[in-house]
């Protein structure tokens, strides 16, 4: 059976929904960061899929490389924020990070 664009997109959708559910449901900041990674991967998968089936070139793959780099950098920043937050409030629970409340 030929793997079509639809199956790629379905997997990508599944990944993104997983990521969103994780971001909303989990209270652990590190888990939320993981959810963000899942969403990023879903989007990277979309790029690749469209590049393969629609544009028929390698732009999507190159873009995916950039996304991976950005995701790594973002994960580093996110972890740094988490550590800093832990230092301040002794917790990595997301409900403790309410400094944005006025």
């Amino acid at each position: 059976m030929m793997m079509g664009l639809t199956s790629y997109l379905l997997i990508s959708l599944f990944l993104m929904i997983c990521g969103i559910i994780i971001m909303i449901a989990r209270k652990n900041i590190i888990a939320i960061l993981l959810g963000i990674e899942l969403i990023l991967n879903a989007s990277a998968l979309n790029f690749v899929a469209y590049s393969k089936f629609v544009a028929k070139n390698f732009d999507g793959q190159i873009f995916t490389l950039f996304i991976i780099v950005v995701a790594a950098a973002e994960a580093a920043v996110g972890l740094a924020i988490t550590i800093r937050h832990f230092q301040i409030s002794e917790s990595i629970h997301i409900d403790d990070a309410t400094q944005l409340l006025a």
């Binding site: 971001m23 939320i32 944005l100």
Partner: protein, 731 residues
């Protein structure tokens, strides 16, 4: 002589500067600053004499004039030909022979009266103030004579009116003086309003009010018709009548003569200057200036009748007066009536000559009367005595005054060889000719004129006999009089003036004019210099700017231009001559019979005046009441008509205007205010201002709950929004 600022302006400026100095720091000066006023007016006199000599000796023709202007108000814009369209007022000077003679007379009489005032007002608590007014008055009068347009005439006219008002009410502690000053001011105001209307009428027709332009407009026939309330009338008649009404007010002519007798409440020198010699003559002077307008408006008959009625009526009232100044006041009105009559009958130069001669002898008469009054003292009232029944026999005690007054009385009575004869006779001769030319009811004018001449001789000599002859009737008053000594400020002015009551100064030709080669041999310098303005000649000289340099061409008397009666045919000239000859004889007879009658009544006492009084009781009463004019004006016109009108107007004002218009408007605005307040409070404040705040607070309540600070909630909201966008896009 050059006519520049330096030679003209000082005439007005000297007295004006004296007025300013005396008004502001007169009290601090020695002698309260009277010497400043006297010197100023004397300097003015010298400057005026210069102008007079220039005109007299250079023999300028009667139509020669000097007209110089400067811009006073210039609201025109731009340059070029459109400049004339703007609003522009020029002021300037206009000197012709009439003005030159008038200037000399005014400044000369005024300086003598200033001198006399230093005697008469001595010891008065308001000594300095008197000279303040005299100076202002002299400046205004000289300015009026020099004026080249009706507007500045009006300005000076009003200044004189103010001075007259202030000087009549000089002793305003006395109620009568205050009332008299108000009466004089209000009565002349009636004439002044008409005068202003006349000026405006001329302005609307000519576009300018200077004499030369008016004459030119008359010559070109610009005066057509005016339409007032859809009634079409002749423009010249309307303007001329209005200006003549100004004359009537100022010169105390027939309907408005009531103020002049009361004006004698003022100090005697001011009566001499203002109410005899100059201000009242200014009205006649204005009419002389505007003579072509009056002629064009067919007003001469009216003017002649007004003058004749005034001359006769005032002369009859003077018969029964007992106050020496009141006699003189009525004789002034009567003589002014002669002048106006002279204008009406076309005796232009005679009328002007009578103005000059009258100014001199009447000023002298008033000053003499002042001298008499000043010397008589009542020990009971501590005042001066003016009543003739309390005088008598003063001839020995006041010899110089007596001499001066005799000369002037002879002059005013029309005795030959005195100035009054020369001028009055010429007016009467012209009136006779005029009457014979027009016939029928026009005979009334010379008839009234001659009757007034008879009455004048009678009442003036009555005054002389009652004052100076006979035995003293009030011994205490007689004893209070000191023997008169010759003093420079009491007698010298009188004697100088009395010299000029001689007719030779006016009838003959003392200098100069004989040199003129004339078609008709005529040596009267007055008639040579003063003639009716001939309109077509008024374009021959250009308007010049009034400046430091004189750019005028000098135009001497040209024999061909000159010529008396040149418009008359030979037959008319013959008839005129005949009328004058007849008039002279009649007036001599009348003058002497008047003097004789007075002599018989008051000196010989062979005729008893009371017989006449008993014979005409009602007329005598009417004369004593001054023909009920005061009653008519005060009791009927003012109290019955004007006060009632005033009452209704006040009622209208209070009940209708105040109640309905003012209060009604107040109610309307109050209602509006209420409506506005409700609207403001409920709609603007509550709904718009507070409502917007509240609505924002309401949203705030919802939004506050969304603002939890929890990132997941924000994310959820973000997702919801994003998804809703997706749905929106799909639909």
């Amino acid at each position: 002589m050059e006519y520049t600022i330096g030679t003209i302006a000082p005439i007005i400026l000297f007295p004006l500067v004296a007025f300013v100095i005396n008004a502001f720091c007169g009290r601090k000066l020695p002698r309260q600053g009277d010497w400043i006023s006297c010197i100023a007016i004397f300097l003015s006199f010298l400057w005026c004499a210069r102008i007079f000599c220039d005109f007299y000796y250079n023999q300028y023709s009667s139509d020669f004039y000097i007209h110089k202007v400067f811009n006073w108000i210039d609201l025109s814009w731009g340059t070029g030909p459109s400049k004339a369209s703007g609003f522009k007022v020029d002021m300037g000077i206009f000197i012709d022979n009439v003005a030159a003679i008038m200037l000399l007379m005014v400044s000369g009489v005024a300086s003598l009266i200033h001198l006399f005032s230093t005697f008469y007002m001595k010891g008065d608590p308001k000594y300095g103030k008197f000279f303040v007014y005299l100076s202002l008055f002299s400046a205004a009068m000289l300015g009026l004579v020099l004026s080249d347009n009706l507007l500045s005439v009006f300005i000076f006219w009003e200044i004189m009116g103010f001075c007259s008002y202030s000087l009549i009410g000089f002793y305003h502690e006395k109620n009568a003086a205050g009332d008299a000053s108000l009466k004089a001011f209000m009565t002349t105001r009636v004439g002044d309003v008409c005068f202003l209307l006349g000026i405006l009428a001329i302005w609307s027709i000519v576009g300018n009010v200077n004499f030369v332009d008016i004459y030119q407009a008359l010559h070109q026939g610009s005066f057509t018709t005016l339409s007032i309330f859809n009634i079409t009338i002749s423009a010249a008649s309307f303007a001329g009548l209005m200006i003549f009404l100004g004359t009537i007010g100022k010169s105390a002519q027939f309907p408005l003569q009531v103020w002049l007798p009361d004006a004698m409440m003022g100090p005697t020198p001011c009566s001499a200057l203002i109410h005899a010699a100059t201000m009242v003559a200014a009205g006649v002077y204005l009419s002389l200036r505007m003579y072509p307008l009056m002629e064009a408006g067919d007003l001469t008959t009216l003017i002649a009748f007004v003058g004749a009625i005034t001359a006769f009526g005032a002369a009859t009232i003077a018969l029964v007066q007992t106050d020496i100044k009141a006699v003189l006041a009525f004789s002034t009105i009567s003589q002014l009536g002669y002048m106006v009559m002279g204008i009406g009958v076309g005796a232009y130069s005679a009328s002007f000559m009578h103005l000059i001669t009258h100014a001199i002898f009447k000023a002298c008469l008033f000053l003499s009367a002042g001298s008499v009054i000043h010397s008589l003292h009542d020990h009971h009232t501590h005042g001066h005595v003016q009543e003739m029944p309390r005088m008598g026999g003063l001839k020995k005690k006041l010899p110089f005054t007596f001499f001066a007054m005799t000369c002037c009385t002879l002059a005013i009575a029309g005795v030959p060889f005195f100035s009054g004869f020369v001028s009055k006779d010429r007016i009467l001769g012209d009136a006779l000719y005029w009457g014979s030319k027009h016939g029928t009811y026009h005979w009334i004018v010379p008839l009234l004129g001659f009757s007034a001449a008879f009455l004048t001789a009678f009442y003036m000599f009555r005054m002389m006999y009652l004052t100076f002859y006979g035995t003293p009737r009030d011994q205490a008053v007689y004893d209070s009089c000191h023997q008169e000594k010759l003093s420079f400020n009491r007698n010298i002015p009188l004697l100088i003036l009395s010299v000029f009551t001689l007719g030779i100064f006016f009838s003959g030709s003392l200098t100069g004019q004989q040199k003129v080669k004339l078609p008709i041999v005529k040596f009267e310098w007055f008639e040579t210099l003063v003639q009716k303005p001939q309109l077509f000649k008024f374009s021959s000289f250009k308007k010049e700017n009034f400046g430091l340099k004189d750019t005028r061409e000098i135009k001497a008397l040209i024999p061909s231009v000159y010529g008396h009666n040149q418009t008359l045919s030979e037959q008319e000239a013959h008839e005129t001559h005949h009328a004058h000859f007849l008039g002279a004889i009649i007036s001599i007879i009348l003058a002497f019979s008047g003097i004789l009658l007075a002599f018989l009544m008051y000196l010989r006492k062979s005729l008893d005046p009371s017989n006449w009084v008993n014979f005409f009781p009602r007329w005598t009463k009417a004369l004593k009441e001054r023909y009920y004019f005061d009653y008519l004006y005060q009791e009927i016109l003012i109290k019955k008509v004007l006060l009632r009108l005033n009452y209704y107007l006040a009622k209208f004002d209070l009940d209708v205007f105040d109640r309905i218009a003012i209060d009604g408007w107040q109610n309307v605005s109050r209602c509006l205010y209420r409506a506005h307040r409700v609207f403001d409070e409920y709609f603007i404040d509550r709904l718009a201002v507070d409502g917007s705040g509240k609505s924002i607070r309401l949203f705030n309540m919802f939004l506050r709950y969304a603002q939890t600070g929890k990132v997941q909630i924000y994310f959820l909201i973000f997702l919801v929004v994003l998804i809703s966008y997706l749905f929106k896009l799909k639909i």
